[in-house]
């Protein structure tokens, strides 16, 4: 037994997860390969509409990036957040352009649906791309979550009242959906 104990060498790797992930060059190659596939598909279906093709490309790149690239360092996180910034700004501009063509301003339910979409999409994509944001429990994170939830409640309230729900149903549905939103975005335990 003692010789076994002596021979037992547990190799603790710098990065535990390396043992479970694809090699780094395989991760990068796979990501580039998938990006090229996406470009090919978009060229086939969206060759006449560059804007939508660009948006879909950014969105798919953002979703795929943290799934494929599992290297954790300052540079990969910097790329992730830059990609997030590019995606969210482009999507926000698209929504804004859609709404500019919509009549009625804030009395049009499309406006509030778009705002709700941006709120949810923005926060969830951020959590997806920057894992620490999902688990970080600081005072400022809770304050930001609360502020976003208040915006969400306001948008949901306007949406439900515009589609014809009475005041009671509007309040109930807005409250339920806001609670769901807060529960989804609040910091969580990683395990």
């Amino acid at each position: 037994m003692s010789s076994e104990a002596e021979e037992l060498k547990i190799e603790i790797r710098e990065r535990f997860e390396d043992a479970y992930r694809l090699p780094v060059n395989a991760q990068i190659s796979l990501y580039i390969f998938l990006e090229l596939v996406v470009i090919g598909v978009l060229y086939n279906f969206y060759s006449g509409n560059l804007v939508e093709a660009f948006l879909i490309f950014l969105f798919v790149s953002s979703v795929l990036y943290p799934v494929i690239i599992k290297v954790r360092n300052f540079y990969t996180e910097l790329i992730a957040l830059s990609l997030y910034g590019a995606t969210i700004f482009s999507v926000a501009l698209y929504i804004f352009e859609l709404l500019l063509m919509t009549e009625g301003g804030t009395s049009n339910p499309n406006v509030w649906m778009a705002i709700i979409f941006l709120l949810i999409f923005g926060v969830e994509l951020f959590h997806h791309m920057y894992e620490k944001a999902r688990v970080l429990k600081t005072k400022w994170v809770y304050i930001v979550d609360l502020v976003l939830s208040i915006f969400f409640f306001y948008a949901a309230y306007n949406l439900f009242s515009l589609i014809g729900a009475d005041i009671m149903w509007t309040l109930v549905l807005s409250s339920i959906s806001t609670l769901m939103f807060f529960f989804a975005i609040k910091p969580e335990a990683p395990f």
């Binding site: 300052f74 700004f89 501009l93 778009a114 969830e124 970080l136 769901m180 529960f183 969580e188």
Partner: protein, 311 residues
């Protein structure tokens, strides 16, 4: 709008977020690392320390130590208890409440603790979650090209009030929210039922039913063999998911079938931990405590893309 505006918006967004991250991210926090090194050298195995004691030993002001301890507490490396703090073992993936419960019930140093994350790689759960996400994506695709006149149907259904694309995006957002909520509930559910803990002397303790309190016990001496089994869905999860998982089978003297712990995080590390307590060889913990703690806390400069072996 001209596509050039979208390219500009993307560049501006990338620069703003990238620059914010670059300037706010602390690339190196020498005080955190100094404190962590001191703690992993002298306070491993849940030895209690206080703010005052640490301040005297490190010759640093108490408020500086306190700020650092708050950060370490948030990273899950340090836990506040009555009368002071203890260093949490880096291979403990439990909530603070469950970690305290494990220490209280085992009366032992906990060197590994985790929940059996069955939902992470269960094929049925993956299919359900994929369906929740794919249905609105397919709807969006159909609406964008007006296949089968779906866009017109949606427009007519709402009396022309609602734009079909915005409605599809709205549904997509709701499905993402639903997915997140389902995930959170699954996490809460597993935390109530399926924890597994390995103690220095106590062996392996685990929950046997939902209302259990770690009554399942495998002592060090009764372990005859340990095996890891990673099935195809766990393998896929390990390649592309957030937490690598695997089944760990523990063979006990006198039993024909192994006790199987399903979908535990970092199964290879658990295998090493169980083998170590079996053989009474735990020096690797002290030797690598600093690296383990830095890894667990994701504290720079731990993560570097380098093939050099760290000495």
């Amino acid at each position: 709008m001209d596509p050039i505006f979208y390219f500009l918006a993307a560049i501006i967004g990338a620069v703003i977020f990238g620059a914010t991250y670059y300037f706010t991210r602390k690339r190196q926090d020498p005080i955190l690392i100094k404190i962590l090194e001191h703690l992993t050298r002298f306070y491993l195995d849940e030895k209690k320390f206080t703010l005052k004691k640490l301040s005297e030993e490190l010759q640093l002001p108490e408020d500086v130590i306190e700020k650092a301890l708050v950060k370490l507490e948030k990273a899950g490396l340090v836990m506040r208890i009555s009368g002071g703090y203890v260093l949490v073992d880096p291979l403990v993936f439990l909530t603070p409440q469950d970690y305290e419960r494990a220490i209280r019930l085992s009366k032992d140093n906990i060197i590994y603790g985790a929940y059996q994350l069955f939902y992470l790689a269960h094929p049925l759960i993956i299919v359900i979650q994929a369906a929740i996400l794919l249905i609105p994506v397919i709807l969006l695709f159909l609406v964008a090209f007006n296949f089968y006149g779906i866009a017109d149907m949606i427009r007519n259904f709402f009396g022309g009030q609602v734009d079909p694309i915005i409605f599809s995006l709205f549904l997509l957002a709701i499905s993402i929210l639903l997915l997140d909520i389902i995930n959170n509930f699954l996490k809460m559910y597993t935390r109530e039922k399926y924890s597994v803990v390995v103690g220095f002397h106590a062996g392996i303790l685990y929950d046997t039913n939902p209302s259990d309190e770690l009554s399942g016990r495998i002592t060090r001496g009764s372990i005859s063999r340990v095996d890891i089994d990673i099935n195809w869905s766990q393998k896929l999860n390990n390649l592309f998911g957030t937490i690598p998982v695997g089944d760990v089978e523990v063979w006990v003297h006198g039993r024909k079938t192994p006790i199987v712990f399903k979908s535990l995080p970092y199964p290879r590390e658990l295998y090493s931990v169980i083998r170590s307590i079996q053989l009474g060889s735990l020096q690797w913990r002290k030797r690598h405590a600093r690296e383990l703690a830095l890894w667990r806390g994701r504290i720079y400069p731990f993560y570097t893309y380098s093939k050099r072996r760290r000495k």
